[in-house]
Symmetry: C2
Subunit: 324 residues, 2 copies
């Protein structure tokens, strides 16, 4: 699609590191005003009196070009004087906060306390860091992803950072999602006249995407949309590229395969983009009623991200054609 | 005095940088358990959602041997990544918070939010930083020093840091001091059986010492004490060694001299230690009913601080003898 077309905006549902890679590719491929990112806020938490929004921050830092290229989260050229001093004072250091990253959390907290919404504050942080895409928190109301284990339900950061995803998961819930509302901006972007496609980034479906879909209005809007909905599989050749996706699938009785990902999203998406390594599963997925796009989905280099984004846009255009 | 004497504990009323120098000298001269410092909290304020206690922090950092030797406040070998990033985000940067210093403020806030008092939290920070002296906040209740100017009353940090003490002062008040109470620890240390002397550090009398004395129980306890009370003049040869003391005296109609300092404290103290440069004013001050100690009071080197502390202890012992 060229910017001159009437359908020229794109929305991607995303978690942190993996999703941010695709968002960056899309941002590089599209021009100003074309990309909205609906960010998972189910991992947000209060820590040391600060408001931490891990996925929003990873998206902002990645799109601003200042993310740590090693970890994918946090800031490049970060320093850790604060953390070292806090440790000496007996403070909690299991969640690592760099000196520069800390400014984001303090500033966010300060702006929120003036009565602004998380959506407004995120927009202001994006402006300050030079991010052109719209990064939209899924909700301005709190939603907390919890991982159910034999020892009880664990808040996301407890499970993910403190316990390093070690406990065996039996299920998930998104506390607060019954009453939390999708923001007006999120619903507007999903219903916009100019919308060309909705993407679901290769984030963890249960920990990053389902919290967004747990907001009923978002899910029903995506199901009812006239535009193609395309997911990128976070599973490649039976493994997750990052994080506990494959481990969680096994623990909850799912085969960690692109077929299981197709099954999970089948109600929602028109197409699934899978890696070349999984090409043999194309027929199986198409039998489930989904169209399949096959490309290299592993994003290491900058070019990998741009190439996958371009492929996704073309694949969606193809599906859109068929759909119309 | 030797530690074997029954009167072997000392209490010093102190503000920040200047007072902390004498406190350090006393701490080096005395042994564990002998020194209590009653710290001004009239400068404390909330900033960026943090609880900042400038004088307590300067005292802790100075006695821990980690204060910035150039400024006298803040930490040695400090880094400023947080502040630089906050500036880029449009946050307030007029009050400089170093990366390591920030850990103190966050930890304090966190501990206060568990329900601990400022006294308890200060003791915990002292332990963590290896300070042996007792640093006692004058009160666990808020008191706010305000500088009256033609444009209205200014909170301390507004006047001192943001406006760099430029506005012309017409007076002072200590908001909250009518209802704030001195802590039990402060009153206990001032009434302790082992107390040998009370010192008033060469801090600004109006901005650092009077806020402490604005708590009625502290002032009446000092007036009624059986032990010698000795102040060290913050004015030397008509000038303040640091800060706006001389400027404030002139603006409020006082000659910036040791004689004016003697007049200000005459109700409260038995003796005043003045610098050699002011030796000619000895008779004038003694005519006001005060004993005068003359020594070098300018504290540049470590030895200067220890020498002044030793002189103060000896001078108090002499007064104590006369008093008894």
């Amino acid at each position: 699609m060229s910017p001159g077309d009437s359908y020229n905006t794109y929305t991607v549902l995303s978690g942190g590191v993996g999703g941010a890679k695709l968002a960056l590719g899309l941002d590089e491929t599209l021009t100003r005003g074309q990309l909205s990112v609906i960010a998972n806020t189910g991992d947000d938490f209060e820590h040391l009196g600060l408001k931490i929004c891990p996925d929003i921050d990873t998206l902002i830092y990645t799109l601003a070009g200042i993310a740590d290229p090693e970890t994918g989260w946090g800031l490049n050229n970060e320093s850790w004087q604060f953390m070292e001093s806090l440790e000496k004072l007996g403070g909690e250091t299991w969640f690592r906060l760099g000196d520069r990253d800390l400014a984001t959390h303090l500033r966010r907290k300060e702006l929120l306390e003036t009565g602004r919404t998380l959506t407004e504050v995120t927009a202001e942080l994006c402006r300050a860091m030079g991010v052109e895409a719209s990064i939209l928190p899924m909700s301005d109301d709190p939603v907390s992803t919890r991982i159910h284990t034999k020892e009880g339900a664990l808040p996301f950061q407890e499970y993910f950072v403190r316990l390093q995803t070690e406990p065996v998961a039996t299920g998930f819930d998104y506390a607060g999602s019954e009453t939390a509302r999708a923001t007006a901006d999120v619903l507007a972007t999903l219903k916009h006249d100019s919308l060309a496609a909705i993407f679901i980034a290769p984030s963890n479906p249960w920990l990053s995407i389902d919290p967004i879909l747990s907001l009923g209005d978002i899910k029903s809007t995506i199901i009812d949309t006239r535009v193609p909905v395309v997911a990128v599989s976070p599973i490649v050749a039976g493994k997750a590229l990052k994080g506990p996706t494959a481990k969680l699938m096994e623990e909850t009785g799912l085969d960690p395969s692109v077929t299981s990902i197709a099954g999970h999203y089948s109600e929602l998406v028109d197409g699934l983009i899978i890696d070349e390594q999984d090409a043999s599963l194309q027929d199986e997925i198409e039998d489930m009623g989904l169209r399949v796009g096959i490309t290299r989905t592993v994003m290491n280099s900058h070019q990998d991200k741009v190439s996958l984004a371009e492929f996704a846009i073309e694949f969606a255009a193809l599906l859109g054609g068929k759909k119309a």
